[in-house]
């Protein structure tokens, strides 16, 4: 039972309280049903989290002119004449590595829907870096502006001159979604 004071207070607070409730429910309705925040795009188990160094291992085993890329790295570390050959081979290989499926961009569409605007701004590039004794020996590929690094892989191989070379590979991608990355992991 309300006392006399509360009786008087109820109409005073009821309007603003109801208005606040309506605003909260409206905002939550937009978040849950329009934006769809409940639909978490993350997979329960993400392939990208379990990926191994398969791309970099495969690249190192690719045979070119009777020697593998790994052997070419070893030769280039000793003789600078092999460096250009190694660089051009790596550029060609990186271009063949599968990338995320590009979204339809504005050039192919008449309507500027968000996914196509995103598709127009999306760009990705595989980057390979070779470090010999922790010093950068070679870098192949240019990071697109504003890109993030995905699918990082690295291996360490011994060279002829008893030094160690660390080879790092990653996908630098602007506006890539987790789903697109998981599809190529």
């Amino acid at each position: 039972m309300l006392n006399k004071k509360a009786d008087a207070a109820l109409p005073l607070y009821l309007g603003p309280t109801l208005a606040a409730l309506v605003i909260v429910l409206f905002i939550f309705s937009i978040i849950f049903f329009v934006v769809g925040i409940k639909q978490n795009p993350d997979l329960v188990i993400k392939p990208a989290a379990y990926q191994d160094s398969h791309n970099i291992i495969t690249i190192l085993k690719i045979q070119k002119n009777n020697s593998t890329i790994a052997e070419l790295i070893s030769l280039a570390a000793e003789d600078k004449n092999y460096k250009n050959e190694l660089s051009s081979e790596l550029v060609a290989i990186l271009q063949k590595l599968p990338k995320q499926k590009p979204q339809e961009d504005l050039a192919k569409s008449r309507f500027a829907v968000p996914s196509e605007v995103k598709g127009s701004l999306q760009s990705s590039e595989w980057i390979l870096e070779i470090f010999i004794e922790n010093e950068l020996f070679m870098k192949v590929g240019e990071k697109p502006f504003g890109s993030s690094e995905y699918l990082g892989q690295s291996v360490v191989i011994p060279l002829e001159n008893k030094k160690l070379a660390e080879i790092k590979l990653f996908l630098a991608c602007t506006l890539c979604s987790e789903g697109e990355i998981n599809a190529i992991a």
Binding site: M1, L2, D7, L10, L14, L18, L21, L25, F28, S29, F32, K38, Q39, L43, V44, I45, P47, Y50, H54, N55, I57, T58, I59, K61, I62, Q63, I93, K96, L97, P98, N182, A183, I184, A185
Partner: protein
Amino acid sequence: MNKKAIFNAVEIMLYVVITVIVAVFIAVVAVNYRNEEISTTQLETFILQKKLTNSCLAYTDSAGMHPYLIDLNKLTSEILSGCYTKEGFGYSVKILDFDNIIIKEASNLDLRQRANIQICENVPKHECFKKRILVNFYDNNKISAGYMEIGVINLVE
């Protein structure tokens, strides 16, 4: 009923209506969340790819098994069906060169899956996924580089 009693009845009804609105909202969100569809086709394709490249199709010599070096002699339907078979899950494996020319292909698909995989988008309760990875393959004492493409069709309830 006196004035106070009427006021209390209106007040209680208001509270009940507000409570019902909030409860219905929470219930709708909860039911939608409970019915959320979780797709596993992409993950299953990832697991299949690992099994194929690291074990079933991997080239083996006296030094051991070579992951991601595909032995083309092992790419047969018999080996694929012995490698990974699951009710409602079918797949095909293609080895292609860098010019996208098919070197060899094999599949673990039944007749219905073989027909449906071509028109997967229009087949109800089925999900399809295609994945391409870089591999080396061993053929006639020669190692070449190319792609392994896995096409999957999965029955989803």
